[in-house]
Symmetry: C2
Subunit: 589 residues, 2 copies
């Protein structure tokens, strides 16, 4: 592509709400533009990347034996009513009525539609297994779309659905998808982790997330440094590591109120009273709808709000406002405590281990000492704390570490949840009718475009891996000498003929502008022809991210680039093979 | 693909509402399934065809210098309000509100969105021309979706939009698209016509339709047998060829009512009274909303309802019900006439040429003779008749012929209609701000899948052209001998490695079932290995639609198939080159 003919509207400035590198760079590089909240259009470069990502996904899905289909984007309400999700999916579902008043939604996921397809078209065990997938634009009316393609409302997703005769066979289908996913993320050049995840919302029994590691990611994942354990923090089991108990005596005095003027943080109280924070009991008031609950964790722990929400059966819970805390506890924030509190009290199970605790006294500037859980207050004890770096791995007891990541893939064992509700059955070998056993598997294709930038960028711009770069080579003509233009035109045509995707910057711009744009767009290989090289018979070659140029004679340039591309592709396929082995080992599949 | 693993749910019976061959065969072959009215899902074979069609479209669009993007499917109302189409597009627009109450629609076309993109990103004449296209799922809430993929509500469309500095340059962009379209339809194997079309609804000044010729097509097109004139019947200009007038005397007697018992058709009256049908004046009552009009055409003409609707400013007009005709004319259907009729009367301009006419008398079983337009009744004279085969070409006066077709592509010169409304301007070379000059270009990608079947089928099933067949070869193993399976397995792997798309029917089915399914799916080339051939060292090769088998030695099979494919591809590209030349000549571009 000739740069002067291409629509590549690069920008110097981007809106202040773009804070993540991928969001900024996709806008600055002219890859995407915002049309409405959480709704973007893909300009030529962004669309090229998205198509290349989709192509890798497609190749690996086909390799795993899945078959590509396309289900509708506009879905009839009646199918969603069969599973009850027309109501339970909530405001994320974008609903509308057609000219006849029939109700529809824009598809956010396709379990209902594909289960309907399966119940009509799959009749016998001889037609099993089947795995059907599609790559499609979907819509979820997110309350807070953010970060460009990371969490949009309209997005491109690959969703696959497997159908098997029994649980045992369904595990094989699941295994094939986990392998395909590991290969996909490896081929796309990602540093990723496969983690155990919560599968509640999908109605299934087990699931894994594929997390792209990235400090700016909104998901926290917990992984063992020694064994293969890894889980989303929402599902993670980590054991507190307390060492020796700080309180050893068995007879605890009755609670005593003490003055703690202005000490309303754990650190302040701990220092003021000389009690380690692990022996403090933190009391937090949470609210949802018109309900509230007091939640206790140990002073050095935090509440996992996802676990809490699940425990109380709420979609989401929020910390109570200051006035609400005052109303419920009779004291300002920082002095709440469970003793004598008239409220429902949930406590993390590790609170039960506190022997001689400190809590707020429900009076301003006062705390209680010598509090003993069970004796001085009652509570429902549950797993409510957030796993921390340093916790003990539930499998091997070695230390866990918390990473941040972007959820890029999710695999679910659905079992017969949907097939039971929708009566999707098949005739078994014995002539008996049985529900299909299902799995579902998603990849956020457009999210991967952003995630790739999160893992591959520097202060100058993007750094595209070869397999998904919008073009592989950027060819720059530097200098006004017409002989240079003649030379680069020739190189451009030769590379085109050789099937090497090339962006050819033949614009009449200053060299500085061209180099800056080249760094911003971040194509893997840069080829520069300037006055000196043209006279000397060589181009300057540089890999994006490196600082050294290599002089490559013109007559060797095509072969040189072919070799660079071959090396990159070989590395990609080696990474896929390695990821396949590694994921099977880690997950024990 | 192994047939036994594939989702190809062929059917013997299809719903009665499937009457067009493509609709029936897409259902029977398991290519598509209906999800809701006008909403289909593409099963693996249907999706493969659709992707192959899209790929040809993409190649030719890229070749023409257009750049692929992807705009959103869910579009904000505010953009549609800027052009007024939020209101004027009517109930075809599927509208909804998001969780915050903001209004959106599912995109039926993207002039507004792309013009918004252009006004933000195109600033200077140096950035022109640009042509942006996308291949996308769209939705139009058609009042009467029908015929499967021919007129669905959800459909896949390629839409392109060109931006130029002035009308002269815009013509070059338009020309490039007409060439690309001609090449696309030729490469896809279509017999098609480029015809002049009405461009009213898009706000432009000129347009062409690309019509796939097909007797079951819902569009009528008119083409000259001698010159290059061709037009949609809605836009066609054809002159009646009357020969010598049948009435030569200049003094016409006053109208006389005559009994015509039970004679309520033109043929009946003509025969009964011995008057040629061209001298009868047909009176039809049309209604729309709460309005009605009497419409006159000569007895051997028909009303073009599109011309009529445009003349009265209605979206659509309908023939009045019998009771309504009785109420308005005082007589049953078949006896209406303009003389003494209290109604608005529109007459085709050729009615004015009738010298001694016959009309209904507005009484049961009575007609009037000796009716003279202008003397005996007044009317608004307009062009209202439908052009017929045999009319004279408006350019060369030679006979026209009426064909039926499926509209598969449409090109519009939009001019500055949208750029003026949306203030999409650029800075010209002289520093002046000017509106972008636009064109838009659509191809019904999913409709083409159906249109291909309309042109390529027989009583046994589909007959796919090589460029868009779901697979190129169907390989059949016939017979229970395990040696045959070993042989066909080997052939299958060899063809796969050679990159020849093969559907391998290794099912344990009777030969009759396999052959019937092969004919139904209609892959271009069939390769059969049976007992005799396996022993003799050859496979039976047959092109779909032919009746002769050819024995091809196993060791030559791959080369043989490669040659067949190469011949088909060469023919395709030759057809494209020829279509390119021919369309330029025909349209004088």
């Amino acid at each position: 592509m000739r740069y002067s003919k291409a629509l590549i509207p690069t920008l110097k400035e981007v809106p202040a709400d773009a804070t993540m590198p991928s969001h900024k760079l996709l806008l600055r590089g002219g890859f995407i533009r915002r049309v409405a909240a959480g709704i973007y259009e893909y300009l030529p470069l962004g669309w090229r990347v998205l198509r290349r990502v989709a192509e890798v996904v497609r190749e690996e899905m086909d390799r795993a034996g899945a078959q590509e289909i396309l289900m509708p984007a506009v879905l009839p309400a009646e199918l969603w009513r069969e599973t009850g999700r027309w109501d339970t999916f909530g405001p994320q579902l974008l609903r509308m009525k057609d000219r006849k008043g029939a109700e529809y939604c824009v598809g956010p996921t396709h379990e209902e539609v594909v289960t309907d397809l399966a119940r009509r078209e799959i009749r016998s065990y001889r037609e099993l297994p089947r795995n059907l997938y599609q790559i499609q634009t979907k819509f979820r009316d997110e309350p807070r779309p953010r970060a460009g393609l990371i969490r949009g409302r309209e997005f491109v997703m690959k969703d696959a659905y497997s159908f098997d005769a029994d649980e045992e066979k369904a595990k094989l289908s699941y295994r094939a998808m986990v392998v395909a996913y590991a290969r996909i993320f490896a081929r796309l050049g990602f540093d990723f982790r496969v983690v155990e995840a919560d599968s509640g919302a999908m109605g299934g029994t087990s699931s894994h997330e594929f997390q792209i590691l990235c400090d700016a990611g909104e998901d926290a994942i917990v992984a063992c440094e020694s064994c293969s354990y890894a889980a989303n923090v929402e599902a993670a089991l980590g054991e507190r590591v307390d060492g020796e108990p700080s309180v050893t005596r068995t007879s605890i005095p009755q609670p005593v109120a003490v003055d703690t003027p202005g000490k309303h943080t754990i650190e302040d109280v701990s220092a003021f009273l000389g009690v380690p924070s692990r022996d403090l009991i933190k009391t937090l008031i949470y609210v949802w709808g018109d309900q509230s609950v007091a939640v206790l964790v140990r002073g050095d722990d935090d509440v996992n709000e996802v676990k809490l929400a699940r425990a109380v059966g709420a979609g989401e819970v929020f910390l109570a406002a200051d006035a609400e805390v005052q109303r419920l506890t009779g004291a300002p924030v920082g002095f709440a405590g469970p003793v004598g509190l008239r409220a429902r009290i949930l406590a993390d199970r590790h609170v039960a281990d506190v022997r001689d605790g400190v809590t707020g006294a429900n009076q301003a500037d006062r705390h209680l000492r010598h509090v003993l859980p069970g004796r001085d207050f009652q509570a429902e004890f549950l797993d409510l704390r957030a796993v921390r770096s340093g916790d003990a791995c539930p499998r091997c007891q070695k230390p866990l570490r918390v990473f941040h990541g972007i959820e890029a893939g999710h695999t679910f064992v659905l079992g017969t949840h949907y097939s039971n509700k929708m009566k999707a059955t098949f005739l078994g070998e014995d002539g008996q009718s049985r529900p299909l056993v299902m799995g579902c598997y998603g990849i956020g294709v457009s999210r991967l475009v952003a995630a790739a930038i999160e893992q591959h960028n520097d202060e100058k711009g993007m750094r595209w891996p070869v397999p998904i770069a919008p073009y592989t080579v950027e060819l720059l003509a530097i200098g006004a000498d017409p002989a240079i233009g003649v030379r680069t035109d020739g190189i451009y045509h030769a590379l085109q003929s050789a099937g090497i995707d090339t962006l050819y910057d033949e614009r009449e711009e200053r060299p500085g502008v061209k180099f800056m744009d080249a760094d911003l767009l971040g194509l893997p290989f840069r080829v520069v022809v300037g006055k000196k090289g043209n006279a000397g018979g060589w181009a300057e070659f540089r890999r994006r991210g490196e600082t050294q140029d290599q002089q490559v004679p013109f007559e060797q340039l095509e072969a040189f680039l072919r070799r660079e591309i071959a090396v990159a592709n070989a590395a990609t396929h080696a990474a896929a093979a390695e990821a396949e082995q590694s994921v099977l080992k880690r997950l024990g599949l």
